[in-house]
C-alpha cells in the first residue's frame, strides 16, 4: 500500500526504493507483529552502526543541493553515510539517464524525467575540467614563446632600419586597436580572477581575499563587457578591409609564415594576421553574445542556454587570451619594427620590404627585392 507517495515516484522507483520512500509501514495486525518489526529495525540499526562504513557506503552519487525533500521522505542515514536517499540507481532513474554520460549535458530534457541534470553536468564540466585546465593554456603559450625567444631570438630587420617610413595605420585605426587592447586586458584579468580565483588565490591568500577580489573582478568584468562589444564593432569596421583571405595566403601557410627562415611574400596583412583578426571578430562575437546572456539572464528561460553560454564564454576567452599573448610578443619584442605601426602609424621601409613586400610594392610602386617576381605574378592588382 502506498501512502501519499507522489505519482511519479510510484511509477519509476523500484520496489525496494518504494519501500524506503513510503512514510508509514502498512497497518500492523497485532502487537506481536509490531514487536517483530521493532526487533528487526533495532537489528538493522545495530548493523549499520557497527559495520565499517566503507563497506556499507551505498554510492558516491549524492542528491543535488537543490533537491526537494518531500515531507513523507525517509530520514537521512546516520552521520558519515550517504543515507538511503543516495541510492545511485534511484537517482539515475530520477535523472532519466546516466549521470556520467557527457552526451546528456546539452541534450533535450529526457521526457518523463523528474528533474533536469544539466546543472549537475555543467557544474562537473566547469569544476573538474574547465577550472582545472583552463589556466594551463595561457601558461603553456608563455612557456613556448619564452623557449622560442631563447632559441630563435627576436626577428631582426636583416637590412637594418632605413630611416624612411611608410604610413600604415590611421590614427583612428590605432586608437581602435589600443581601445580594444586596454578593454581586452582588463576583461582578461578580471575574467581569470573569477575563473581561477578559487584555485589560485584562495589556497594562498585566503578565502576572504579571494572573495573580495572575485567581487571586484565581477563588477569590473560586467562593467567593461559592454565596452568590449563597442571595441569589437569599431575594430571590425576599421580593419576588415584587407583582412579577407586570398589564395596567396596558401604560400604563407606552406612556409609556416617564414618562422624558420624562408621568406614569405605578403600583402598588407599576412595569413597569421588575418586569422587573428577573424578569430577576434568571430570568437569575440561569441564571447560578447554569451556575455550578454549572462549579464541579462532573463533573455532566455532555458537554463541550458545559460550553461552553454558560460562554457563558450570561458573557452573562447581562454583561446583569445592565449593567442593574444603570441600577438603581443610578435608586436613588441618578437619582431623589430612592428610596434611602430601601432604607436606611430608608420613603419620603416625595411620592415615593409621584409614582412609585407607586396603591400610595399603596391603603395610605393617600387620593387621590394630585386629577386621578387613582379607584382602581377604574385596576384597583386
Amino acid at each position: 500500500m502506498r501512502q501519499r507517495l507522489p505519482f511519479i515516484f510510484s511509477e519509476i522507483l523500484p520496489p525496494e526504493a518504494r519501500f524506503f520512500a513510503e512514510k508509514s509501514p502498512p497497518p500492523l495486525a497485532g502487537a506481536r507483529t509490531a514487536r517483530l518489526f521493532a526487533l528487526l529495525a533495532l537489528l538493522t540499526a545495530l548493523i549499520f552502526t557497527l559495520a565499517p562504513a566503507p563497506l556499507l557506503a551505498q554510492s558516491s552519487v549524492r542528491p543535488p543541493g537543490n533537491a526537494v525533500t518531500f515531507p513523507d521522505a525517509p530520514e537521512p542515514g546516520p552521520a558519515n553515510t550517504l543515507g538511503t536517499r543516495s541510492d545511485a540507481e534511484i537517482w539515475d532513474m530520477i535523472r532519466g539517464g546516466s549521470p556520467r554520460d557527457p552526451g546528456v549535458i546539452f541534450a533535450p530534457t529526457p521526457e518523463g524525467a523528474l528533474m533536469t541534470t544539466t546543472g549537475q553536468q555543467w557544474r562537473v564540466l566547469r569544476e573538474r575540467y574547465i577550472r582545472k585546465y583552463a589556466g594551463w593554456a595561457p601558461l603553456a603559450v608563455i612557456v613556448l614563446i619564452a623557449l622560442f625567444h631563447l632559441i630563435r631570438g627576436p626577428m631582426r630587420l636583416k637590412e637594418g632600419r632605413s630611416g624612411k617610413t611608410l604610413p600604415r595605420f590611421t590614427l583612428t585605426a590605432r586608437v581602435a586597436h589600443w581601445f580594444m587592447a586596454v578593454v581586452f586586458i582588463l576583461l582578461a584579468i578580471s575574467g581569470l580572477v573569477i575563473l581561477l580565483g578559487r584555485v589560485l588565490i584562495a589556497p594562498y591568500l585566503g578565502r576572504e581575499v579571494n572573495s573580495a577580489l572575485t567581487s571586484a573582478a565581477m563588477q569590473g568584468h560586467n562593467l567593461f563587457g559592454p565596452l568590449f562589444i563597442l571595441a569589437l564593432f569599431w575594430l571590425f569596421v576599421k580593419f576588415v578591409a584587407g583582412n579577407f583571405f586570398h589564395p596567396h595566403d596558401l604560400k604563407w601557410i606552406f612556409r609556416l609564415g617564414g618562422l624558420f627562415g624562408h621568406h614569405v611574400s605578403s600583402r598588407k596583412f599576412n595569413f597569421g594576421e588575418k586569422t587573428w583578426f577573424w578569430l577576434v571578430v568571430l570568437v569575440g562575437a561569441v564571447i560578447a553574445a554569451s556575455g550578454v546572456l549572462m549579464l541579462f539572464p532573463w533573455l532566455t528561460d532555458d537554463l541550458r542556454f545559460l550553461q552553454l553560454a558560460t562554457v563558450l564564454h570561458v573557452l573562447g576567452a581562454v583561446l583569445l587570451i592565449s593567442i593574444a599573448i603570441g600577438h603581443i610578443y610578435v608586436g613588441t619584442i618578437g619582431m623589430e619594427g612592428s610596434l611602430d605601426s601601432m604607436l606611430k602609424g608608420e613603419v620603416d621601409e625595411s620592415w615593409a620590404r621584409e614582412h609585407h613586400d607586396i603591400w610595399y610594392e603596391q603603395i610605393t610602386g617600387k620593387k621590394a627585392h630585386p629577386e621578387t617576381p613582379k607584382m602581377k605574378q604574385e596576384g597583386a592588382p
Partner: protein, 213 residues
C-alpha cells in the same frame, strides 16, 4: 581605527584641505600674475572677449571638426559622464550628506552604470590617443600619464566596489580618492579649474584687439 575609518576620516580631511587650499592658492597665483600692460587703444571689450573665449572653445571649429572629432567626442563623453558619476552617484551623495547634511536626487543604478561605461570609454580613448598620436606623444609628459592613470584608478576602484560586499574594496577606493585629491593641485589635473582662466586670457586679449573669435 580601521583602515576604512582612516581613509574616510583623517586622511580624507587632510586630502580635501590640501585640494581646496592648493587649488585656491594656484588660481589666486595665476590671477595675481595679471596681464602685460597694453598701451594700444582698445578696439573691443576685454571682458566680453573673456566670456566669448570661454564659450567659443566649447564648440569645435568647423575646419578642424573632421580631424578632431575623436577627441571631441571622447573628451565630452568622459568629462560629462565623470561629473554625473561624482555628483549623482548614490554612494557619493550619501557620503556628501554624511559630511555636510546636503542631499539631492541620485541616479538609479542603471544610470550610474551607463555613465560609468561612457566615462571609461572616453578616458581610455583619450589616453590611447595620447600614446598613438605622434603630436600628442611629443607634448605629453610623464605627469599627464600619471594624472590619467590615477583618475582611471579612482574610477576603477569605485566601480569594483559597486557590490558593496567588502569594506576593503571601499577603503581602496577611498585611498585612491585621497591620493587623487592630494595630487590634484600639483598636477595638470588643475585644468579642471584653470581652463576658464586660460581660455579667458586668450579671449580677453583678442577681444581687446577687436578680433572676432
Amino acid at each position: 581605527m580601521s583602515f576604512l575609518a582612516f581613509v574616510e576620516g583623517p586622511l580624507f580631511y587632510i586630502a580635501a584641505a590640501v585640494f581646496l587650499l592648493g587649488a585656491a592658492w594656484k588660481i589666486l597665483g595665476l590671477i595675481r600674475l595679471g596681464r602685460r600692460p597694453d598701451l594700444a587703444p582698445p578696439r573691443g571689450s576685454a571682458a566680453w572677449g573673456f566670456v566669448r573665449g570661454n564659450l567659443r572653445h566649447f564648440v569645435p571649429r568647423g575646419i578642424f571638426t573632421r580631424r578632431t572629432w575623436l577627441h571631441i567626442v571622447a573628451g565630452y563623453s568622459f568629462h560629462i559622464a565623470l561629473a554625473v558619476l561624482v555628483f549623482f552617484g548614490a554612494f557619493h551623495i550619501a557620503f556628501i550628506e554624511r559630511l555636510t547634511g546636503l542631499s539631492w536626487q541620485a541616479l538609479p543604478r542603471w544610470g550610474f552604470i551607463v555613465a560609468a561605461e561612457i566615462a571609461f570609454a572616453g578616458l581610455i580613448v583619450l589616453w590611447v590617443r595620447r600614446i598613438s598620436d605622434p603630436v600628442m606623444r611629443q607634448i605629453t609628459r610623464a605627469e599627464d600619464h600619471a594624472s590619467t592613470i590615477l583618475t582611471f584608478l579612482v574610477m576603477l576602484t569605485g566601480c569594483l566596489a559597486l557590490q558593496e560586499s567588502h569594506a576593503s574594496l571601499r577603503a581602496i577606493h577611498m585611498l585612491f580618492v585621497d591620493i587623487w585629491l592630494l595630487y590634484f593641485p600639483f598636477s595638470r589635473l588643475m585644468h579642471a579649474f584653470t581652463f576658464v582662466l586660460s581660455r579667458g586670457h586668450s579671449g580677453a586679449t583678442y577681444g581687446r584687439k577687436g578680433i572676432n573669435l
